[in-house]
Amino acid sequence: MNEARKSPPKKMVVELEVNGTRHELLVEPRRTLLEVLREELGLTGAKEGCGLGACGTCTVLMDGRPVRACLTLAVEAQGASILTVEGLADTVADREPGALHPIQEAFVDAHGVQCGFCTPGMILAAKALLDEEPDPDEARIREALGGQVCRCTGYTKIVEAVKLAARRLSGEEVKA
């Protein structure tokens, strides 16, 4: 047994910006970003599915890139800017109160949500893709969502939702 294990190691200070709000937290080094988001900050949009990086429902954006919050230590996210699904709509400028983000609206309109457990991860993976490539083809959409597992809808409607979101985000008016 390692010496350090006789008593839990000291907590560490972590500064995070989550959905635009700065936080200074004292966390155990073993805490994952997912545990801190859900249990310290009460942001339960990111889910734990497998806890092992394989299902994607814990996916959040860290400095704009999708990451597995269940495999990212909170202390390794020091100084990073995190976006969870709770903060997504607020990234839209001049949003009407209560309005969703266009990607969220597209998931609703294209019926890309069934049980909803994978949805926050799907939507954030889609946001990372569309921020980088506003007009992706279907192969790129499927690659970008390749790490996100859905057990309900069978992906077709999810892919359609991302296509719809891309068109709307590029300024096209597409009715539901």
Binding site: M1, N2, A4, R5, P8, P9, K10, M12, E28, P29, R30, R31, T32, L34, E35, E48, G51, L52, G53, A54, G56, T59, M62, R65, P66, V67, R68, C70, L71, T72, L73, V75, E76, A125, A128, E143, A144, G146, G147, Q148
Partner: protein, 330 residues
């Protein structure tokens, strides 16, 4: 929630400081992206380890000189894929893209993929699952559940970058207490499934140096897996070729997912060199790959199928590399 065990995280600000911590704490493990190590720890492996974060060592980035591309071990696969590569080295991005999925590529690093632990059905399982039978060789026990009665550990080397880096002739810069040394990437692998790398616990992989290929070079990577995302290689092949006057002047063929380390196949290389990659040369190279593969029943797909696919993957990769070497993307 699947909790991690307690551990301390050290955050050295330089390579020298990192090496000091590793030398002083024999249980410490380097933490790069964590996408494999933290899974193993959630499964109850390495529970006595403290972690040494490599994030502050400044090991991220790619530099190009006249003869070499130098890739920092801390470079993420995400960045690797988005880099404009010289044509013949596009295969490096191709292999990075074949790793897991984007939210893992963003954290996973080049060094972490090169140092990826070997894998086995009986090892990469939860502590609860494993408690149903005695510990295997890789988990510190005295038996192999894959080859009963065997005294060797057959855990598979399933990382995607090592076959490609070996095929491209890359060197690894290793730092230890006595300074740094360069070794061919091939030399990083021990072939022992229990401890698959030749690095000591007090050493760090700092950089990879990939020689810039001459004109007329091409390379390709093929990966067999159950799903087109997330899965590790059940078999893979990297082929690097140099084309001169219409013939193959040089070939390097490396298999992944088919043994305890990436397998170089000199017989397949000899079968391709001096030919124009005619069907007979390709068939001989494929046969050599099948003969060199060492699959056992410890990952997805049957060993017989994986062995057969070694030949198919080498043929496919060789043909794509050949087309690329001729200056046409395939």
């Amino acid at each position: 929630m699947l909790r991690l065990p307690h551990f301390a995280v050290h955050r050295p600000g330089s390579v020298a400081e990192g090496l000091q911590i590793l030398a002083a704490a024999p249980h410490a493990r380097p933490l790069a992206g964590g996408t494999d190590l933290l899974v193993a720890m959630k499964h109850g492996h390495h529970t006595d380890a403290d972690l040494v974060s490599l994030a502050g060592l400044g090991l991220s980035g790619i530099e190009r000189s006249d003869s070499t591309l130098t890739v920092g071990a801390g470079t993420s696969l995400w960045d690797l894929m988005r880099r404009a590569w010289p044509d013949a080295l596009g295969v490096v991005a191709e292999a990075a893209r074949a790793v897991a999925a984007p939210p893992l590529q963003s954290r996973a690093t080049v060094g972490g993929n090169v140092c990826l632990d070997t894998r086995c059905w009986f090892f990469n399982q939860s502590a609860f699952w494993r408690s149903g039978r005695p510990a295997c060789l890789k988990a510190g026990g005295d038996r192999c559940h894959v080859v009963p009665g065997g005294s060797d550990c057959h855990a598979v080397s399933q990382a995607d970058l090592p076959p490609v880096l070996i095929a491209c002739g890359a060197q690894a810069e290793i730092a230890g207490a006595d300074g740094s040394r360069d070794v061919p990437v091939e030399g990083l692998f021990s072939g022992d499934g229990r401890r698959p790398h030749t690095l000591s616990s007090a050493e760090l992989l700092l950089r990879l140096r990939i020689p810039l290929p001459p004109p007329g070079a091409g390379a390709a990577y093929e990966k067999l897996r159950m799903r087109r995302a997330l899965d590790f290689a059940a078999a893979s092949a990297a082929v690097y070729l140099e084309r001169r006057d219409g013939g193959c002047a040089r070939a390097r063929v490396v298999l992944g997912g088919l043994g305890t380390k990436p397998l170089r196949v000199p017989e397949a290389e000899a079968a391709l060199e001096g030919t124009e990659l005619d069907p007979r040369a390709l068939a001989e190279a494929a046969e050599a790959a099948v003969a060199a593969a060492r699959p056992v029943k410890n990952t997805d797909l049957t060993p017989a199928y994986r062995r057969k696919m070694a030949g198919v993957l080498v043929r496919r990769a060789a043909l794509r590399a050949w087309t690329r070497a001729a200056g046409e993307e395939s």
